[in-house]
């Protein structure tokens, strides 16, 4: 008798429960959205006096960007969309949104940059340049010149990000096609390869001439070594030096649980900002920088245990940030629109972590580091936040927007690209 009633009761409860759960899910997602109280901040949290607007959206996987002196925008798409890997956006009626859009360059890749009347762009193996007319428009998009080719691409860490100095050189990242130079990439307990042969053609910065065609590795200068992967880099005009942001290694806990808890592994190692001069060695894969102990620590792959240091001293970072946040853009601000404290300081676009699971993820913001006389002069601070759309991000797929590229406009505004939804933000300051 009891058995006959049990089933309908359970069924009724299940129906009620699922209706209730459905209602809860929709209302909880409303709670997680940021309040739209500041219509002039494009959903972002900014310091006082700053506003933001969305100048373009749904552009695709918008990686790095460049703004011309006319205020037009070049975007490099990570994957070409409809045969276009570079977009050129214009705002002819000056209403604050780029409506006019053309595209070219049927290749994937990360970088675009403007120099001496040319647009430079990189695929994952090659650096091209396109001649610009006096309005900074590409007149012959089907015929770029090849500046460098044959750069290694094995998938992992393949962004060929680059920047220029003022002496006719460009500096390109060739990321290591490995996490920590293990004999077996990402296999728990696998030790590091002796002498890490990856370093001879990857895991560093190469310098090439900006106006010599068809260069290969042998024509370049192996400018810096021991950098795992650099997606954000910029030339510091005050120092006359290259600054880079390194993506630190992953999975200390997964690969060596004996030495690292999940909590330690979520914040270590530091994401590092380095000032790079010719011949510098930042130490990957042999050491990482521990921002808590404030020293270089021997990697477990090479006999470390979280405490041991290496025999050799490598380059120290000029600033260390919490682990895994993914610094994808670096820009030294040289404009006059923002208050004095921002002049010659560094903006960093942190793409947002994935390697903090099961802890919450971190990053998904733009940070500012004040500089004086070419060196950091104070603590880093969060400048623009709220890109992810949620206060707590557990997995990167759930982040609404992920900051990737930075550019400075002719009026001194800061442009930020998002490679998740292809939104382009313009951040401005008014006294």
């Amino acid at each position: 008798m009891k058995k006959n009633l049990l089933f309908p009761i359970l069924l009724f409860s299940a129906v009620i429960f699922s209706i209730f759960s459905f209602t809860n899910i929709s209302s909880s997602s409303k709670i997680n959205q940021l309040p739209k109280t500041n219509a002039d901040k494009a959903g972002l949290t900014l310091p006082a006096g700053f506003s933001a607007s969305i100048v373009a959206d749904n552009t695709g996987e918008a990686r790095h960007i460049a703004v011309t002196k006319e205020g037009d925008l070049y975007i490099k798409l990570g994957s070409a969309k409809g045969g276009n890997g570079i977009l050129f956006l214009q705002d002819p009626d000056q209403n604050g949104r780029y409506q006019k859009k053309t595209g070219f360059a049927d290749y994937s890749g990360t970088e675009v940059g403007l120099k001496n009347g040319y647009l430079y762009a990189s695929s994952n193996t090659t650096i091209y340049r396109y001649k610009l007319n006096d309005k900074d428009e590409v007149t012959d998009p089907k015929n770029p010149e090849i500046i460098v080719s044959g750069l290694l691409d094995h998938g992992e860490h393949n962004s060929k990000s680059f920047t220029f100095d003022d002496q006719g050189n460009l500096y390109v990242n060739v990321g290591a096609y490995s996490n920590s130079c293990q004999e077996q990439d990402r296999v728990p307990g696998s030790m590091g390869m002796k002498g890490c042969p990856i370093l001879d053609s990857a895991g560093g910065i190469w310098q090439f001439k900006i106006d010599k065609l068809n260069q290969h590795y042998g024509d370049g200068v192996h400018y810096a070594i021991g950098l795992r992967n650099v997606v954000g880099l910029d030339w510091n005009q005050i120092d006359n030096a290259l600054f880079v942001m390194q993506h630190g290694r992953d999975q200390l806990h997964d690969l060596f649980p004996k030495y690292y808890t999940t909590k330690q592994s979520a914040v270590l190692p530091a994401e590092c900002m380095y000032e790079i001069h010719k011949g510098d060695n930042a130490g990957w894969p042999y050491i990482y920088y521990d921002q808590i102990q404030k020293k270089q620590i021997l990697m477990p792959e090479y006999g470390g245990n979280g405490k041991k240091t290496a025999d050799k001293k490598y380059l120290d970072p000029v600033m260390a940030f919490p682990g895994h946040m993914g610094p994808n853009g670096l820009l030294f601000y040289t404009g006059n629109q923002f208050p004095e404290k921002y002049k010659n300081g560094a903006f960093i676009a942190f793409h947002g972590s994935w390697n903090r699971s099961p802890e919450p993820q971190a990053g998904y913001f733009v940070v500012f580091v004040p500089f004086r006389d070419g060196k950091p002069s104070g603590k880093w601070e969060v400048f623009a936040d709220g890109f992810a759309g949620e206060k707590v991000v557990m997995s990167p797929g759930k982040a609404e927007h992920r900051p990737c590229g930075l550019a400075q406009g002719p009026d001194g505004s800061l442009y930020v690209s998002d490679d998740s939804k292809g939104t382009i933000y313009k951040i401005s300051y008014k006294k």
């Binding site: 077996q184 696998s190 797929g397």
Partner: protein, 128 residues
């Protein structure tokens, strides 16, 4: 927990799958979660999602081989995922592989038959 009696085979099959899924979730949280995330959504451009993909829902032998041998540069719906998944043949035992695959094939919106330890053993012995 094992049962060889034919009389209770059907009930114990269902219980066995549930047990496998429960154990599999623990294995997922220890070995898989850092790359594939707790919700199975992976990482854009780097680590593939496990949500209703042909890899997860397809042939058991192919999926078992992925756990044993690893895989890299996987393409799903036009996107390439560039991180390498390591071979886990020396890290996970046959029963653990059966459990974690049963868990994955019945989580994140997936619905697919369980993977058994017998099936894993067979693939591992053929695996060169």
């Amino acid at each position: 927990m094992s049962n060889t009696s034919k009389d209770f085979a059907k009930e114990n099959f269902i219980t066995g799958v549930q047990q496998s899924k429960t154990t599999g979730e623990k294995i997922f949280k220890k070995y898989c979660i850092s790359c594939h995330m707790a919700d199975g959504s992976g990482v854009p451009h780097m680590n593939p999602p496990l949500i209703q993909t042909k890899y997860v829902l397809g042939e058991k032998e192919d999926l078992i081989k992925i756990i044993l041998n690893g895989i890299g540069n996987v393409e799903i719906n036009g996107e390439t995922y560039t991180n390498k998944m390591p071979p886990l043949k020396k890290i996970l035992k046959d029963q653990q592989i059966a459990d974690v695959l049963t868990y994955v094939r019945n989580s994140f919106g997936n619905k697919a038959p369980a993977v058994t330890v017998t099936e894993v053993k067979a693939v591992r012995s053929k695996n060169t």
